[in-house]
Symmetry: C2
Amino acid sequence: MKILILSADDFEDMELFVPYYRFKEEGFDVDVAAKKRQKIEGKHDYEIEANHAFDDINPEQYDMLFLPGGKAPAKVRKEDAALQIVRHFMDKNKPIVTICHGPQIMISAGVVQGRHMTCWPEVSKELKEAGAVYEDQEVVVDGNIVSSRMPSDLPFFLREVMKKAKVAV
Amino acid sequence: MKILILSADDFEDMELFVPYYRFKEEGFDVDVAAKKRQKIEGKHDYEIEANHAFDDINPEQYDMLFLPGGKAPAKVRKEDAALQIVRHFMDKNKPIVTICHGPQIMISAGVVQGRHMTCWPEVSKELKEAGAVYEDQEVVVDGNIVSSRMPSDLPFFLREVMKKAKVAV
């Protein structure tokens, strides 16, 4: 199982690191990609090395895509290379798991039409306008998409994410 | 499986929350105790409600004790009620899992003599002086005690903690 995380500075620290450590606990390979290959810093000052740039990613090599939240997705959504990665996962029906503001990236990639999803409350208007069926739940699973709202949803999110990961191996 | 966390203000946020969410993912009951029943805040500004005071805890009700790190253990170790809880777990041979500065609480409880353990590097001198056999490893398991050094050890720590949790249920 090889997992790709797309993020940027000002990620929500728990939303990135709690799944990151969970994947590592399970023995999965995890890569973090950002606009450039560099250290990125969360809203709460935790740092992680983005060991790849979006441009250098071959999405064929990954089994699951994880889009954490915070203010990072507002930056990631502006990057065509990142949106191409999202579209690859949708085209191949591989799992995309996302929380909080992460769905903004999927909105910009144009892949949420008709899909049941949740997100950070303030993103819900935009998600609905893009054609998704918004649900205010701890976690929503619709086919290859798993979505949650906020850090306190992480246990619910990870239960469903781990099910997808174990099927997708 | 019922787990008790002992902490205080200035806990290391990832060290408390990553295991906390992991336990919740697994469906375990988790209580957080502090000197007083109140909200406590981590070094990185995450907050959690301590839903019990040390004085109100009946340790018989818990299967595992978790002592996260940061600057909180320096406060917790001064509280007799907290040290009595630690001694209960040692007397009953129930799992105590700890990371970073957490072992300081076990040192003050007088329970580390002859035990193989690890901790935050700067705590190692004190740990050795208290009679423990210090090992610089991601995770050290010695009977009922599981210990780790720092946030980046969390995946290794949780692998061993989850084994103890599943046996202890």
